[in-house]
Amino acid sequence: MIKTENLTKIFKIKKGADIPAVVELNLDIQEGEVFGFLGPNGAGKTTTIRMLTTLIAPTTGTARVCGYPLGESNQDIRRNVGILTENPGMYERLSAFKNLTIYAKLYDVEDVESQVRKHLQMLGLWERRDDPVGSFSKGMRQKLAICRALLHEPRLLFLDEPTSGLDPEAALLVRSFIEELRSQGRTIFMCTHNLNEADRLCDRIGLFRTHLIEVDTSQNLRVKFFGRKVVIHLRKVDPAWLPQLQALPGVQDISQVESKLVITTEDPENLNPRIIRTLVTAGADVQFVGELRHSLEEIYMQTMGENQPEVTES
């Protein structure tokens, strides 16, 4: 659906240094995938979306979006993608109905009226269709803006920070709407710096800060960065048990935190029974056994910390 090759955007500023916003980005996103593009402010996420939606031209590199080459078939790309821009930019004085109608017409939707009605009904806004958009709650406005991007049934949807600036309730509203879109099998490219959101909504995550740092499912990212870890809660820990456990094949690392043991291994499914047997034989009282799940946040902090933006000399 999206394939980029060394996609690069460098902003030229009249005075001062050039700003490398996106450098040599290589992505391959499949149909039906929800891809989370994760990075701090100024990482170049919006710039990437703007390039992929033909709003700005890359400095170097190429990309295919929905099968069309960027730069050569921009009109086709625009017809096939939908975009929720960072600032939704609705016409606030106009009604919800008018806003959607304008866009349905600009996207050459066949049956404008019924398509607009379908989307307003989906949002439960049909009764309020004649109210100006400015009178809607922030969450509603955001959902309306997402619907505006869906009117022409695009094959690919870009969402630029769909929940940023929303209060928790509004964010939840938008998030469950995205979940719904996901369950419909839509292809979505979503920028965010909300990690829980990315973890919950996205099939794969790209960690990005000017350069692409890692791409994988959040589960694989956890394994890649922290390995798999098992936590065993004991009534009390006898230091003599540690060397015994360390001797078991497959144990990579053991540490003790209060009355808990944290064991790193690649294969907890086969190792856990042996560990428990060893502990019980040694006289330990096992209370709980669980897998330690690192939050995406920890991965994020670790990668972003190592990848401070480059300072370019002018």
Partner: protein, 265 residues
């Protein structure tokens, strides 16, 4: 091409939400019609007694306007009316400027330009829609004002020869052709400015400068430096056509979607 109509429809829906814009659109033409009508009314009354039937009391500059069947009073009125011709041509320049000046930079400040540019609309369609949205009401306002003027004249006792003078080719060309051409020039100039600045207020201020050449022409005419006749009007129209073509071409070729979207200083 139907995108053009969508843009016009959208612009009008937005513009007519602003009470101020509606007010200017109605007030300015009414004012510019009322002004000459009142002046003609009062000169007609006062001249009845004073200059009576004596052509010799008229200044020579005035005599050139007299047709054979006119009284000296008529000549005086025709002279005055000619001064107002430029006023009528100003209507289509003043009205669209605020709309057009706001149109690109306004969408940029409300951030609605980005999703708009992401649709499959072409630059030409976007600019044509925005130009027409501003030009059409301006041209109509110019024509309606002239219509009101023509209706008002007999009511205040202006004589038939004077009215015949006003529906002469020069006047009709001025109102029906030069006015719209001026509106198109004004709109495209304002759009051009609007695509280049980042603040709607700056766009309006620069665009309002357009009135300066029209005012200059008005003053020149008052001072007797230029006399508007058919030939002057035709050459003026010719010049306007060239200016319009130039401005439209410039507007479309200079409208860089990316630059407009990303330049903030």
């Amino acid at each position: 091409m139907k995108h053009i109509w969508t843009i016009i429809d959208k612009e009008w829906a937005e513009v007519f939400q602003h009470k101020m814009v509606l007010f200017t659109m109605i007030f300015i033409p009414l004012f510019l019609v009322a002004l000459p009508v009142l002046m003609l009314f009062f000169t007609g009354q006062s001249m009845g007694g004073e200059i009576a039937d004596d052509f010799s009391e008229l200044p020579p500059a005035l005599l050139s306007f007299c047709a054979a069947d006119m009284t000296p009073g008529d000549c005086m009125q025709v002279y005055l009316i000619n001064m107002f011709m430029l006023l009528f041509m100003m209507i289509p320049v003043i009205i669209p400027v605020t709309i057009a000046a706001y149109s690109v930079v306004g969408e940029k400040t409300t951030r609605s330009l980005e999703p708009l540019l992401a649709t499959p609309i072409s630059t030409f369609e976007l600019l044509a829609g925005k130009s027409l949205a501003a030009a059409i009401p301006a041209i109509l306002a110019g024509w309606v004002s002239f219509g009101l003027f023509l209706i008002a004249l007999p009511l205040i006792g202006v004589s038939a020869p004077v009215i015949r003078y006003i529906i002469s080719p020069t006047w009709l060309l001025a109102v029906l052709v030069a006015g719209p051409l001026m509106a198109i020039a004004a709109v495209n100039f304002s759009l051009f400015v609007s695509s280049r600045v980042n603040d709607p207020r700056v766009a309006e201020q620069i665009s309002v400068l357009l009135i300066v050449p029209v005012l200059a022409a008005l003053l020149a005419q008052l001072a007797g430096v230029i006399v508007i006749n058919l030939l002057v009007m035709l050459s003026f129209i010719g010049g306007l056509v060239l200016v319009d073509i130039g401005l439209i071409y410039l507007g479309v070729s200079i409208f860089q979607r990316e630059t407009i979207l990303t330049r903030w200083k």
